[in-house]
């Protein structure tokens, strides 16, 4: 297994606050890795650092062994944003959004050629949104919205996809559809990194789990990550232990 993303000793500070403290992490290609932590655990900061949106105070990130800027230029990095970071009233159709995935493969005016239209159609088909392609992006359900952005990553032909809290505001059935889709993409050889605090989807979704609380607390199998002692540390409380020993 090759390393898709290599995070080496990354420390990020926002003023006095340490968001990430000496985080080292290897995300493997062709696997779904779940990044678990509570709010403020540094998940979003780690995502932003991997994307190159935040410059670490110490440490570095490598994409498939090379500089992340090069990976971005080659359109290898796909990104599915958090719901609250998207303006759902923006006047773009589902097809428009998926076409944005093709921009890295197009000329300076991003004029769509036949190969681009074909890639968009295929991506829409793959996520099951062909019938909704011409809807305004906000006129989709929560799960469909996520699939639209996943389709953008597919049309982009990204080798790595980063999904930030994809299950927030998504009902159980759509969640199952999304999980199935992400599994298929990993089976194609893509690297999937999902940040979530939704634990019950993990066994079906992830191959391995990283528990984060400003540092990497645990990195290993899903089953081991869900052990109460590990979760209690990640979520900074002992509630789970107390559940086992009433009183």
């Amino acid at each position: 297994m090759t390393a898709a993303i290599d995070v080496r000793g990354v420390t990020v500070r926002y003023g006095e606050v340490v968001a990430l403290d000496d985080v080292s992490l290897t995300v493997r290609a062709g696997r779904v890795t779940g990044l678990i932590g509570m709010n403020g655990s540094g998940k979003s900061t780690l995502f932003k650092t991997v994307m190159g949106l935040v410059r670490p105070d110490r440490g570095s990130v490598l994409f498939e062994g090379s500089d992340p800027a090069r990976a971005r230029k080659q359109a290898r990095v796909g990104y599915v944003p958090q719901s609250e970071d998207v303006d759902w009233t923006f006047p773009v159709s589902v097809r428009d959004v998926v076409m944005m995935g093709r921009y890295g493969h197009q000329g300076p005016t991003r004029r769509a050629r036949r190969v681009d239209h074909a890639a968009v159609d295929e991506a829409l088909e793959r996520v099951g949104l062909t019938d909704c392609a011409d809807r305004q992006i906000g006129r989709l359900s929560g799960g469909q919205r996520k699939r639209a952005f996943v389709a953008r990553g597919i049309a982009q032909d990204a080798s790595t996809m980063l999904l930030d809290e994809p299950f927030a505001g998504v009902d159980k059935r759509s969640e199952a559809t999304l999980v199935r889709l992400l599994r298929e993409l990993a089976d194609d050889g893509r690297t999937i990194l999902v940040s979530t605090h939704d634990l019950h989807a993990l066994p079906q979704l992830a191959d391995e789990v990283v528990l984060l609380l400003r540092r990497v607390l645990f990195h290993g199998s899903v089953a081991a990550s869900l052990r109460p002692e590990n979760l209690a540390r990640a979520f900074g409380l002992d509630v789970l232990d107390q559940g086992d020993h009433p009183g």
Binding site: K73, P81, P91, M100, P108
Partner: protein
């Protein structure tokens, strides 16, 4: 007098023809740009930059440089100052914008008051559409053409920047560069429009058409057509009204645009107040009947 005469009579005057051409050109470029400004949430920034270019324009006049150069310098200076104040103190952005653009605008007023000039620089503030010379028209035409071509060629990147800057970054594009491009176009367009409606009312032409189009369609591509058309038509109507009413032309151009916005806001089929109320009532009736 027949309606045709009503339309043709003003065209006997060359100054009216120049006024109409200049207004339509400015209206089209401003309206195009306004589609992005409204969606990025830069309306206040548009207001700030269009005011802050005043000292730049006056200084350019003094040294004999093109107005656009002075405007670009002061447009970027204004944004840099706003960022600096927000980043180095506890002042919030809206206050920083208010401080910077009013101060620069005031500096412009001071410069005007001490600059001896043949042309009345006060026209920059209130616009002087009926006094547009052929040389002015050439300058407006060139700047507008540059802004128009860049906007049309880069429309997809700018839309991506407005919709999802993180994805732009993930594709190796620089959101910072795209933002600066939009800003430069804003300063350029402000120069085009200030000759028509004046510095004070430029912001209207930079916001109202995009906002109007946004209420009429869910397609950005259509916004880019609707906004310039609506803006150009209302500007021509405004100029004619000013001719027949013998009233301020810049003012009437903006008033007509505002009235059109109000009508669209009320009666737009999908996003209008009346339209969405009617749709809600229909839904209630349907569910009651079931």
């Amino acid at each position: 007098m027949s309606p045709v005469d009503l339309l043709l009579e003003p065209l006997q005057y060359e100054f009216m023809v120049r006024a109409l051409v200049a207004t339509v050109v400015a209206a089209i470029v401003c309206a195009l740009l306004s589609c992005w400004l409204v969606l990025v949430g830069w309306s206040l920034m548009g207001d700030a930059v269009s005011h802050a270019v005043l000292p730049g324009v006056v200084l350019a006049y003094v040294v004999g440089a093109p107005f656009a150069v002075g405007a670009l310098v002061f447009g970027f200076l204004a944004v840099a100052l706003i960022g600096a104040i927000r980043g180095t103190s506890r002042i919030k952005e809206d206050a920083a914008i208010g401080i910077v653009f009013t101060t620069l605008f005031a500096l412009g007023l001071v410069l005007i008051s001490v600059t001896p000039s043949q042309t009345d620089l006060n026209h920059i503030i209130f616009g002087n559409i009926l006094g547009v010379s052929t040389a002015d028209l050439t300058q407006i035409g060139i700047l507008a053409a540059v802004a128009f071509v860049v906007l049309v060629l880069k429309r997809r990147d700018l839309t991506l920047y407005a919709f999802d800057p993180a994805h732009a970054h993930a594709l190796g594009l620089s959101p910072r560069v795209l933002g600066a491009l939009l800003l430069g176009l804003l300063a350029l367009t402000a120069v085009v429009a200030l000759q028509v409606v004046g510095v004070i009312l430029v912001v209207a032409m930079l916001i109202i058409p995009g906002a109007t189009a946004y209420l009429l369609t869910d397609r950005f591509g259509r916004m880019l057509v609707i906004a310039p058309v609506v803006s150009a038509v209302s500007s021509v109507v405004g100029i004619y009204l000013s001719y027949w009413m013998d009233a301020a032309s810049g003012g009437l151009v903006v008033v007509v645009q505002g009235v059109v916005f109000a009508l669209v806001h009320l009666f737009s089929p999908r996003h209008g107040v009346v339209g969405s109320r009617l749709a809600a009532r229909r839904r209630r009736r349907l569910s009651a009947a079931r």
